[in-house]
C-alpha cells in the first residue's frame, strides 16, 4: 500500500493509474494526519519549486513527511517531488527545501548552447550505484524527462545519471529516501518496473 501525497501541484492521474497497473493499492491524500499511518510515501509534483514547497508547508504536510521518513518509512519523489528533498533550489529566487538530501537544485546549463531547455524526451540511464528501486532496471534503458532544473548533489547520493550536454542527476537515494528526476509513470515498461520495485521493497518502519 502506497500513500500518494496530493498537495495541489500537478496531475496525479497517470501516477495513480500506473500504480494500479503494477497491482499496487494506492491512496491519494491531502491530509497530513493520514501520513503517520502510511507504509510507503510517494511525492509527485510538476510546476515551480517555490509554489510547491509553500503548498507542502501549508497545513504541516512537510513536518508529517519528515516525521515518517525519520521512522524509516520509504519515500519516493518524482520530478519536482524529488527536487523538494534537497537543501535549496535556485528556481526563480532561492527557496529552502526539505533538507532530506544535501544539495542544490540548479538550472540546466549545458555547455552546448544549441541544446534545448527544457530537457524533454527519452534519455538513457547510466546506473552509478545499485539501489532497490533499480533492481529491475538495466544500464542504458530509456526514461522520460521533462525539466529545466537539476539536482546538484554529492555522488554518494546519486544512483543514476543521464547525459544532456552535462551530467544530469537522474535518480537519487539516501537511506530510505528515493527520487527520480524523470517520470516513471510516463516511461513505459521501464518506469512501471521501477514503481513495482519500490512497491516490493520491504518496510523496516
Amino acid at each position: 500500500m502506497v500513500t500518494v501525497i496530493d498537495y495541489g501541484v500537478g496531475n496525479v492521474f497517470s501516477l495513480m493509474s500506473s500504480l494500479r497497473a503494477v497491482g499496487e493499492e494506492a491512496i491519494l491524500t491531502d491530509e497530513p494526519e493520514r501520513v503517520p499511518r502510511a507504509e510507503k510515501l510517494l511525492l509527485p509534483g510538476v510546476g515551480a519549486f517555490g509554489d510547491a514547497i509553500a503548498k507542502l508547508r501549508l497545513g504541516g504536510m512537510d513536518e508529517a513527511i519528515l516525521e515518517a521518513v525519520g521512522r524509516g518509512v520509504p519515500l519516493f519523489g518524482i520530478c519536482l517531488g524529488m527536487q523538494l528533498f534537497f537543501d535549496e533550489s535556485l528556481e526563480y529566487g532561492v527557496h529552502r527545501g526539505l533538507g532530506l538530501i544535501p544539495g542544490t537544485v540548479r538550472p540546466i546549463e549545458p555547455e552546448d548552447r544549441t541544446l534545448k531547455i527544457p530537457h524533454m524526451g527519452w534519455n538513457a540511464l547510466h546506473i552509478t550505484q545499485p539501489s532497490p528501486i533499480l533492481k529491475n532496471t538495466r544500464e542504458g534503458e530509456h526514461v522520460y524527462f521533462v525539466h529545466s532544473f537539476w539536482a546538484d548533489t554529492p555522488a554518494e547520493n546519486i544512483i543514476a545519471t543521464s547525459e544532456y550536454g552535462m551530467t544530469i542527476t537522474a535518480a537519487v537515494q539516501r537511506e530510505n529516501v528515493f527520487g527520480t528526476q524523470f517520470h516513471p509513470e510516463k516511461s513505459g515498461g521501464v518506469g512501471l518496473k521501477m514503481l513495482r520495485a519500490f512497491c516490493d521493497m520491504e518496510v523496516r518502519a
Binding site: S17, T114, K116, M120, G121, W122, N123, A124, Y164
Partner: protein, 254 residues
C-alpha cells in the same frame, strides 16, 4: 542524449479511431485504447490523439476514451482538436493528457498560448501549425488547411514559441498525403527560427523519409505520421532499427 521521437497520430471521431485498419492481433482496430496500446508496445515514443468530433456528445465520448487510454498506456500523450480555451486544456489534462496541441484556437485567440503556458507551463503547450506555400511564401492556414490566414507561418511560429509554446508541430500541407518525404525546406526554416523542439509532420511515406529527415536536419526532434503506421506500410520496430543502423539515436524497443 535525447532520442529522436517517433509519434503516431490517431484521429478520433465520436470516441472511435478513424481509418483504423487491418492490424494482426487486434480485435478492434477502431478502439483508441487497443490501437494506442499496440503502438505503445511497438515502441512509439509518444501518442497524439486528435479529436475531430464536432458535437458536444462526441467531445464527451472523447474525454471518456482519453481517460481509458491514459489508464492503460504509460508514455506521453498529446491531445489536439477543439482546443479553444484554457478550460479545454483543463478538460483533457484531467483525463491524463500530458501535452495539449493548439492550432486554429490559437489563431482565433492569440492570448490562448500565453494563458495556457502561464497556468500549465511551456512544456504542456504544443503549437501545431498547418503551413502551405502561397506565392512562394510559407503561409499559415487555419481550420485543417481550409482557410488562408494570410499570416507568415514562420513569424507565427516564432511568436508562438516566444509566447510560451514549448513545442512546435509543423504540418506541411504541400507534402501532406503525397508521401514524397517531409518538407525539409520548411522544417529547416522553422528550426532556424525557434529554440524549442520541432516535430515534423506531413509527407513521411517510407522509412527512408525518416532517415533523411533526421540526417539532413539534426535539429528536428520527432517525426509524426498517421496513415503509414495505421496501414502497416511502416512498422515502428523496423523503422527504429533502420534509424539506429543509420546512426540516429532512438529509444530501444523492448
Amino acid at each position: 542524449m535525447i532520442t529522436k521521437r517517433i509519434i503516431p497520430c490517431l484521429d478520433v471521431r465520436d470516441g472511435r479511431v478513424v481509418k483504423g485498419v487491418n492490424f494482426e492481433g487486434l480485435n478492434d482496430v477502431s478502439s483508441p485504447v487497443e490501437l494506442g496500446k499496440y503502438y505503445s508496445d511497438s515502441g512509439a515514443d509518444e501518442l497524439v490523439f486528435y479529436d475531430i468530433t464536432a458535437s458536444a456528445e462526441g467531445r464527451a465520448l472523447f474525454t471518456d476514451i482519453l481517460r481509458k487510454v491514459a489508464e492503460t498506456i504509460f508514455i506521453p500523450l498529446t491531445v489536439g482538436g477543439g482546443i479553444n480555451t484554457v478550460d479545454d486544456f483543463d478538460r483533457v489534462l484531467k483525463c491524463g493528457a500530458d501535452k495539449v496541441s493548439v492550432n486554429s484556437g490559437a489563431i482565433r485567440d492569440p492570448s490562448l498560448i500565453p494563458a495556457a503556458a502561464k497556468k500549465y507551463g511551456d512544456q504542456c503547450v504544443v503549437l501545431s501549425a498547418d503551413v502551405k506555400r502561397v506565392d512562394g511564401r510559407f503561409t499559415l492556414l487555419a481550420r485543417g488547411g481550409r482557410d488562408n490566414t494570410g499570416l507568415d507561418a514562420i513569424e507565427w511560429i516564432k511568436r508562438g514559441a516566444e509566447n510560451g509554446a514549448g513545442e512546435i508541430v509543423v504540418n506541411s500541407i504541400d507534402t501532406d498525403g503525397v508521401k514524397g518525404g517531409f518538407d525539409l525546406e520548411l522544417l529547416d526554416a522553422v528550426c532556424s527560427a525557434v529554440h524549442v523542439p520541432v516535430i515534423a509532420s506531413g509527407g513521411g511515406g517510407c522509412i527512408e523519409d525518416f532517415v533523411k529527415l533526421f540526417q539532413t536536419l539534426p535539429d528536428v526532434d520527432a517525426g509524426l505520421a498517421a496513415s503509414i503506421f495505421h496501414f502497416g506500410e511502416v512498422s515502428i520496430p523496423e523503422l527504429k532499427r533502420r534509424l539506429a543502423a543509420a546512426g540516429i539515436n532512438v529509444r530501444e524497443v523492448l
